[in-house]
């Protein structure tokens, strides 16, 4: 894990000192809200529906036990004893008081964390595959490159007042778990002729105009990454629209100009930016890579795992669902579900955070990750430790065996917290998860991703959910639109809207009808929901959702 240099520490201390003084001037009335708002947003502080909200960056979702314990301490000391992990691998505190925020930022700085550029029209927290550095299918660990981009983009003087926010995601695996095709820039680490490089995807995004990103270059040599990214962002910074915030993101720029013209402009600009990078960036990457060396993997008997697997059905169910193949022999990646049936997706109490920190220290080489699917990952656990780990997770209510299943739902905060929301999303997730848990059907249903957003901005990634749900305000009543067939992976697709929306009371039965239709249609238990949908298309699901339409058509 990257450790802050003296420069990083001094920079953060100065930023925090500045913000403390700004908060004091606001409280004293020397700054108006109009003057203060851009200053607080630069430091990740929003004013939401019920309270301030502090969004803390977890760079590329990577943290250690010390950082996790600090997040727990902050939740307990200055919030209501919990935090909310987000689809951008960040954590949000929903209840801070204004006067406490400078102290919270100082506490974060003690462990090398901050809230800078978690808001505003800047380059936001760089996100990455949550299995980075551990996955069996990985070509290379994307975290050093993500850290290089974090350093490049933090406080970048040219990119502080852009047309709109800008999000970058990177994966080092051909199996895309980082949603790279729905980011302003998506980066896929690739190799060609033995050389490491990058496929660069631009112009993806969700929101009110969902777009799948387009490949601007299929192989960028490693040494050209930062100058090329600088060229892309600077071209957009100049020609991106500032007249209409809904048309400001780079996806619209790419759409309006065409990918070929954007590529031409970027390559023209790249000639200039290339000269300004002397190679120090590559040297820095080499130094950063040393911070991300793989841990000293151990060897141990797998007997305890095999015993528990054969004798304990609860452990077996959890192991079948929540473990992923690791690159090291005898190791597994553990996904800790923050989706207990009926609970708020992504929430963790301070006690749970501390427990996860303890587990990382005791069994996981002191590493944790936050996934964009709002779960916590222990990337390196030897199978011999899994039975003990599982027992401790059970005691903390963290052993739900549902990763990748229908109750492992992404849900944005929605109108329960967010000032932008047009409807609630969390209670819909709670009801769906509870309904399918009551029926004990989710393991039979298999892989199925439901993603829920409480407004058109799509923080809940509904467009790329196998079943996407979008909450809207229709004449003063919550209304939920359904999309089907979305996909966030390397075969990314925006879901198809099925038809008129459903009321809050009707949405869970509607999801049940979709699932029933899938179970009727699938060729066998191995055909996933998405595969079935791609084979059959929308029609049978539409008929199930709107039987009256089918009757009329017949």
């Amino acid at each position: 894990m990257y450790s802050y240099s003296e420069f990083d520490t001094a920079f953060l201390a100065e930023r925090n000192r500045q913000f403390r003084a700004q908060v004091e001037r606001r409280i004293a009335g020397a700054l108006t809200e109009d003057e203060f708002k851009p200053l607080r947003l630069m430091n990740g502080l929003y004013l939401q529906l019920h309270a301030y909200m502090l969004r803390v960056a977890i760079p590329y979702g990577t943290l250690d036990s010390a950082k996790m314990r600090k997040l727990a301490e902050i939740a307990e000391r200055w919030d209501k004893g919990y935090g909310h992990f987000t689809t951008r691998q960040n954590i949000q505190y929903n209840w801070p008081e204004l006067k406490d925020v400078p102290d919270m930022l100082d506490a974060l700085a003690e462990v090398g964390m901050h809230a800078i550029q978690t808001s505003g029209n800047t380059i936001r927290n760089v996100t990455a595959d949550h299995f980075a550095g551990a996955a069996a299918d990985e070509i290379a660990d994307p975290r050093p490159v993500a850290e290089l981009m974090r350093q490049w983009s933090t406080d970048h003087p040219e990119f502080q007042f852009m047309p709109r926010k800008f999000k970058i995601a990177i994966t080092g695996s051909p199996n895309d778990r980082a949603v790279t095709k729905a980011h302003d820039i998506g980066i896929r680490m690739v190799t060609r002729d033995g050389q490491r490089g990058y496929e660069i995807i631009v112009g993806g995004g969700l929101g009110r105009t969902p777009m799948i990103g387009k490949v601007i270059t299929d192989f960028l040599p490693e040494a050209d990454l930062l100058p090329y990214l600088e060229a892309v962002v600077s071209v957009w910074n100049q020609i991106g629209r500032r007249d209409n915030k809904y048309k400001a993101r780079i996806k619209i720029t790419v759409h309006e100009h065409g990918i070929d013209e954007i590529r031409r402009l970027v390559e023209e600009r790249f000639v200039e930016t290339r000269k300004t990078f002397s190679g120090v960036d590559v040297q820095m990457l080499r130094e950063i890579e040393e911070h991300f060396a793989a841990p000293a993997f151990k060897t141990a008997s797998e007997a305890p795992f095999k015993d528990a697997y054969h004798n304990d059905p609860v452990f077996r169910s959890w192991a079948d669902t929540n473990l992923t193949a690791h690159k090291a022999p005898g190791y597994k990646i553990v996904s800790i579900s923050l989706k207990k049936h009926g609970a708020t997706p992504g929430d963790a109490s301070a006690d749970q955070m501390r427990l996860m920190a303890d587990l990382a220290q005791d069994y996981g080489h002191d590493e944790l990750r936050i996934s964009h699917e709002q779960n916590v990952i222990l990337p390196h656990v030897h199978v011999s430790d899994l039975p003990a780990l599982h027992a401790r997770l059970k005691d903390a209510d963290l052993a739900t065996a549902n990763i990748g299943l229908i109750s492992d739902i992404i849900a944005c905060p929605g109108m329960d917290y967010c000032a932008l929301a047009t409807a609630r999303s969390i209670p819909i997730a709670q009801e769906i998860a509870t309904a399918f848990d009551d029926l004990k059907r989710e393991h039979e249903i298999g892989a199925l991703k439901i993603k829920i957003s409480g407004c058109i901005n799509a923080c809940g990634h509904h467009h790329v959910g196998h079943i996407g749900i979008l909450g809207l305000d229709r004449a003063g009543v919550e209304n939920y639109q359904i999309t089907l067939g979305g996909d966030h992976t390397e075969t990314a697709a925006v879901g198809d809207r099925v038809g008129p929306g459903f009321s809050a009371d009707e949405i869970v039965p509607a999801v049940e009808r979709i699932v029933d239709t899938y179970l009727d249609l699938r060729s066998d238990a191995d055909e996933t929901f998405l595969d079935t949908y791609r084979r059959t298309g929308l029609a049978p699901f539409k008929s199930a959702l709107y039987p009256e339409t089918k009757v009329a058509a017949e």
Binding site: A28, G29, L49, H50, A51, G476
Partner: protein, 99 residues
């Protein structure tokens, strides 16, 4: 013909706590049922201006529609319901604190 003025309350977020507050005849309350109901448009506009000038107390003051029963205001839109009662996902925040 202009639409008839409907009853309103002045609401905002508290500068320090960030939580939802409502204007009363003499100050601010965290309970919607204690808010001052404004039935005259000119009076409502004036009260909103007065509220907005309290820059060291409130943030983002605006007029919210209410339905009035026996003199007690209640929200007319679900967003204002959640602002008045707090998150609905589980009991915490305002619905607990106001009990």
């Amino acid at each position: 013909m202009p639409k008839a003025f409907t009853p309103k309350v002045v609401t905002a977020n508290h500068l320090l706590a960030g939580d939802v507050i409502y204007q009363t005849a003499t100050g601010w309350t965290r309970r919607l049922d204690e808010a001052e109901v404004l039935t005259d448009e000119a009076d409502a506009d004036l009260r909103l201006i007065e509220a907005s000038q309290q820059v060291d107390v409130v943030v983002g003051a605006y007029l919210a529609d209410v339905a009035v029963t026996d003199g007690v205001p209640a929200p007319t839109h679900f967003r204002e319901t959640f602002r008045a009662t707090g998150p609905s996902n589980y009991a915490h925040g305002k619905q607990v604190e106001l009990q």
